[in-house]
């Protein structure tokens, strides 16, 4: 009886704390009016030291990739002998807010493409160069550089008749149990966020800072790499990089995080 009472009490305290946290975070990330749960970036679950690492451009190792991307931006490539700069000009103005809108619908492919696919489409179509491999240093550098131009801007995923089926497919995937552990994304990231999985806090799965520098990886990786990690964790067959299902899931996750600010290049434990 006593124990039950104290559990109840700590539950009340937790509720109060949650309410306090909500009012504090509401000002920071501005959850949409329709949302009842406060949304938190993975940043909010990190330790002080890791936050400091992300906040300081001189300490954030992701900036090494951003600098590489800056160099690649103006390097001519492919048979066309053109650089990104030749078409897009200064990325600091032309790429501002672009990463916050991806995955975005591509009329030619009749489906949403993520930023990496968009970069490779430019490479093959405009530069007449071979596409960059997923998770290659150059592709991560370019997507980190483009992503960096949207830092601090809210994620804006436009959903219309063309993209809705893909969003629905992504949502369905998020809620679908899979793998030998028979878990869905939602069971951890909607129902149990804030609790611990082994030593790690389960975040809400808002992809605000990709590509991220992950301490565990000792390097930068894409959202797809992270998603494949989770699939491996639940002992499911990891989807191929660039597969339609993975991009649909990315679209859903970015839509779910709409209004939250881009942190690229974020640091995560």
């Amino acid at each position: 009886m006593n124990r039950g009472f104290s559990v109840l009490c700590s539950y009340c305290v937790a509720l109060l704390l949650a309410a306090a946290a909500f009012s504090a975070s509401a000002a920071q990330i501005g959850p949409l009016a329709a949302d009842k749960t406060p949304r938190r970036s993975g940043y909010d679950f990190m330790g002080r030291e890791t936050r400091a690492m992300q906040d300081d451009d001189a300490a954030n190792p992701g900036m090494l990739w951003v600098l590489d991307g800056e160099a690649l931006w103006s390097r001519k490539a492919g048979a066309a002998g053109r650089s990104c700069f030749d078409c897009h000009g200064d990325a600091r103005s032309s790429m501002k807010g672009v990463a916050a809108r991806y995955p975005a619908f591509d009329a030619a492919r009749a489906r949403p493409l993520n930023l990496e696919q968009r970069i490779n489409l430019c490479r093959t179509g405009q530069q007449k160069a071979p596409p960059l491999a997923y998770e290659s240093r150059d592709l991560l550098a370019l997507s980190a550089y483009v992503g960096r131009q949207s830092r601090g801007l809210p994620i804006e995923i436009a959903i219309d008749e063309r993209t809705r089926p893909f969003l629905d497919a992504g949502r369905e995937m998020f809620n679908r149990r899979q793998g030998q552990l028979n878990l869905s994304c939602a069971q951890c990231h909607d129902a149990n966020w804030g609790k611990r999985l082994a030593g790690n806090v389960i975040p809400q799965a808002h992809p605000t800072g990709y590509p991220i520098y992950r301490l565990e990886w000792q390097g930068v990786g894409s959202l797809e790499r992270r998603l494949r990690n989770c699939m491996f964790g639940i002992r499911a067959q990891a989807l191929e990089f660039g597969s339609d299902e993975l991009v649909d899931l990315e679209l859903y996750l970015m839509w779910r995080a709409r209004g939250m600010n881009i942190e690229t290049p974020a640091v995560r434990p």
């Binding site: 300081d56 451009d57 001189a58 300490a59 190792p61 900036m63 090494l64 600098l67 590489d68 160099a71 240093r137 301490l215 000792q218 390097g219």
Partner: protein, 106 residues
Amino acid sequence: MARAIINLPASARRGEIIEIKALVSHDMETGFRRTQTGGLIPRNIITDFVCTYNGAEIFRAEFYPAISANPYLAFSTRAAESGSIACTWTGDNGFSLTESAAITVA
């Protein structure tokens, strides 16, 4: 692409203690890992870091295989005179990288 970022205040008062931050891009391959077929991946690490202030050494560090990839160092020194602060990383396979920044001391 070998790349480094060093960060220090552009100007300081004479005698002021300033912080120098140095970040370098490097895999820091330990030499203990193996490939899927069992072959040893050869060690490839940064072994030495030296920071000089107008040519005089102010900080030195030796790196070992347990240091993480893309190592980051922060240390402090006293701003003595205007000039240049240069950081040099050297390591296996002839790795050598120098990055410098100017400081104005008033």
